[in-house]
Symmetry: C3
Subunit: 160 residues, 3 copies
């Protein structure tokens, strides 16, 4: 009899650089331990999946405002703590470089290489006016029902 | 042999409109999938359960200050991100209306209709000086022991 | 046949007094219910484990800055909400005293007495420049692999 693969699911709600780092470090660790891993990006967590170039897309006024005000991609996100108007992320990135730690964009790339399933929540994409063209390639699109189907079989389920 | 119902428990610690929305969307989704669902409201998450009218209650000075400073009910809560002194919630609510998305008060009502068990943490009610008269009807009152009894059997346990 | 002990794991990522209180109240409750309990302190959550006296340690400039800017120990941490430049924690502590509620340092002490395993994340210690001499005695040091080994068997796994 073959053993069922262990499963880790993470809801990434936060748009903070440090919280997203924690999410992706756990996800990559779990994938290395042969877990099936899913990160469900919702609300501000969707910003981690944004491409960094601006795109000319048809949007309403509010959607344009959201798009402008939210960080465009994982490298632009702020810290949950000691952000100091952007100084904090610079300090952290400087220290990370010194320690040869992986940056958030590198952690996301590694997750994709390890077949971590990256899902964008379609309901909050609608709310925030985000379109598929603005998000990274190779991700999936789903709603809360898909999340629950995964999580109810999860060994480790986290909300970050 | 009948199968045990799946169980989802959520600790709602946050007093942010968007985080509470996420909690209630997951809860309503899980209830629709026939999970037994419990939301345990603690600390600032208790604000989601406050009635919106002010009540004349006997309170000490600090309790009065907390009662004044904390949002009175789910409709008054701010955002975890891009709050912009209250502009953010208005923008989000405007977009939600446009998309016919449910507001937080509507999500809470739906949860009650679906028999999601809404629990107020008695220990933090004491700390913040909140009394049962100030909270919604039809909720339950319990402490961390009750939460743990539910969570240790939970398929999905989240802290939001 | 002996039944396996239930297990609760908590990642304490946050450096907020109130969130750390919630983590330790759950941990102490679970330990009282005979769960095996692990709190994995990472990022700002490491501040809860700092000793309150300053130590003369060799550090680089950035590490010195982090050490200065971050709260030295659980008693110095701010609130996630209504912090009001430090007024909030004073109010909360005043109310806690009135209600004979345990403070965060007392909750941590109780957890140690109940054999809750307190772990400091070595990767973020490196990043933030924290050294073992600066942290409480009797704690353990590990990385994400150790966390996952515990969590994949956990009945209750939370990220706070």
């Amino acid at each position: 009899m073959t053993e069922q693969k262990k499963k880790t699911t993470i809801i990434l709600f936060s748009g903070d650089y440090d919280k997203a780092m924690a999410a992706y470090i756990i996800a990559n660790g779990a994938a290395a331990y042969d877990h099936e891993v899913i990160i469900f990006h919702t609300f501000w967590g969707l910003n981690a999946l944004r491409k960094d170039e601006p795109l000319a897309l048809k949007k309403g006024l509010l959607e344009k405002m959201f798009a402008k005000m939210m960080p465009r991609g994982s490298d632009k996100m702020g810290l949950s703590n000691m952000n100091f108007a952007g100084m904090g992320p610079k300090m952290i990135k400087h220290v990370m470089k010194k320690h040869n730690a992986m940056t958030l964009p590198q952690l996301i790339e590694m997750a994709q290489e390890q077949d971590v399933k990256l899902i964008a929540c379609t309901m909050t994409m609608d709310l925030l006016g985000l379109q598929q063209e603005e998000l990274l390639d190779g991700i999936e699109y789903a709603g809360v029902a898909a999340y629950l189907a995964d999580a109810e079989e999860g060994n480790v389920n986290l909300f970050i």
